[in-house]
Symmetry: C2
Subunit: 244 residues, 2 copies
């Protein structure tokens, strides 16, 4: 299956036509909610700033999918796929900028590694640092993690490092689709660090994920090429109810 990896690499994806429609929907999303006039934020109008549109109501289902009304029906967002896309594009941008700041840990984490893992990690210390990891070798079979990125409140740094190292040393379809080591690290991190299915999100967190997803260059696919967004049109809905 085609893997939508690099930013802009899938410009001719046929799914993008449908995707454009969804983007229209998102742009229009706010217009169809209650209290559209911008009265929520009267100060902004006075200052000559465009009033911020009210945000759509979101419903999280099974701590995995987020539903929202659009102009044309309902969209369903896969929270893990969406966050993977957000993280991947953030990492690519961060590589270009020269790296992101991590959070220093009060108590560094020591992680024991296999020999291939130790060899690998010495070769990717730079991209890991650009992600916000501060890692140093610790003897011959361990590392010390002293700072970590913080993509969301459920993030487990040790688990993420272990899963990334496993994927990078053992390979995967995702790793095969990357063009170079930096992209492998970026993809592996995006995949392992993204919020999972099963995590309860607050309304603000869901809103933020929506804002970030629809600000990416390729909002409609995760880095595995799977959809991040599925739509259910009003026509389809009406048909399900025998209203044709």
């Amino acid at each position: 299956p085609a893997v939508v990896a690099g930013v802009g690499s899938a410009a001719d994806d046929p799914a993008d036509d449908a995707a454009d429609d969804v983007l229209d929907d998102i742009a229009q999303m706010h217009l169809f909610r209650r209290g559209v006039s911008g009265e929520d934020d009267p100060g902004a109008a006075e200052e000559g700033v465009a009033p911020r549109p009210p945000r759509p109501e979101l419903l999280q289902i099974h701590n995995s999918f987020i539903l929202a009304e659009t102009r044309d029906g309902v969209i369903i967002v896969d929270q893990h796929a969406a966050h993977e896309r957000v993280l991947f594009e953030r990492i690519v941008a961060s590589f270009e900028r020269g790296g992101a700041e991590g959070q220093r840990l009060l108590f560094p984490i020591a992680i024991r590694l296999t020999k291939p893992e130790v060899e690998l990690i010495e070769s990717i210390l730079e991209p890991l640092a650009a992600l916000g990891f501060e890692i140093s070798p610790f003897g011959t079979d361990a590392i010390l993690v002293q700072a970590v990125p913080s993509p969301h409140r459920y993030f487990d740094a040790e688990k993420c490092v272990r899963e990334m190292l496993h994927e990078l040393t053992h390979g995967s379809d995702l790793m095969n689709s990357a063009r170079n080591q930096n992209e492998r690290v970026a993809m592996s991190f995006a995949c392992k660090a993204a919020i999972r299915a099963g995590h309860d999100l607050s309304n603000d967190e869901m809103q933020e994920l929506f804002d970030q997803l629809f600000a990416t260059e390729l909002p409609y696919h995760d880095i595995h090429g799977r959809p991040t967004v599925v739509r259910l049109g009003l026509g389809e809905l009406r048909k399900k109810f025998g209203r044709t």
Copy 2:
């Protein structure tokens, strides 16, 4: 198409197997929301009353459909179809009890009618009274409406009476499916008085509609035989996202 009209008349409807599953879902719906332990209502436990389960979050889409998480995925409820079912069963029960109280109007409504409508209305004053309408002839070509039922806050009594009289004098598939004049009146009222698509419901109103719908005998079809509830299973959702 088969019309699911009378209470209990569709016991052998093949859709009922799926419907039973949905009923299971509804019964279990609360178990999968946050804060399941009943801590919301600690007093109840002390008094030996079963704690009231927290209510599911509901999302209204296009002022027409209501979405909710269930044990097995998502259900989508058609608000008009659902309310039609609720009203129909309430009317049938009310006929058995001998009628419902209407709301007396401060200013009676005079409605001009055609000759067939006047003839008809004189023959259905009794079931109309049982619905909560207090109607008296007013000259030879009009009626005076002095009390009306109040099924919801958007209810337009005059429009409802006009539409019912039109359907009852001109006939319809729905009218053909009724077994007697009382059932025709009940069906026509349920259809015309139920909340429409396009009406914004508050969270409490949605919750009430859910409670009432799933307390009916035939919650899964409106009186036209159309579905009131459509489900989208987790498996189906995952498949849409390429997660198989």
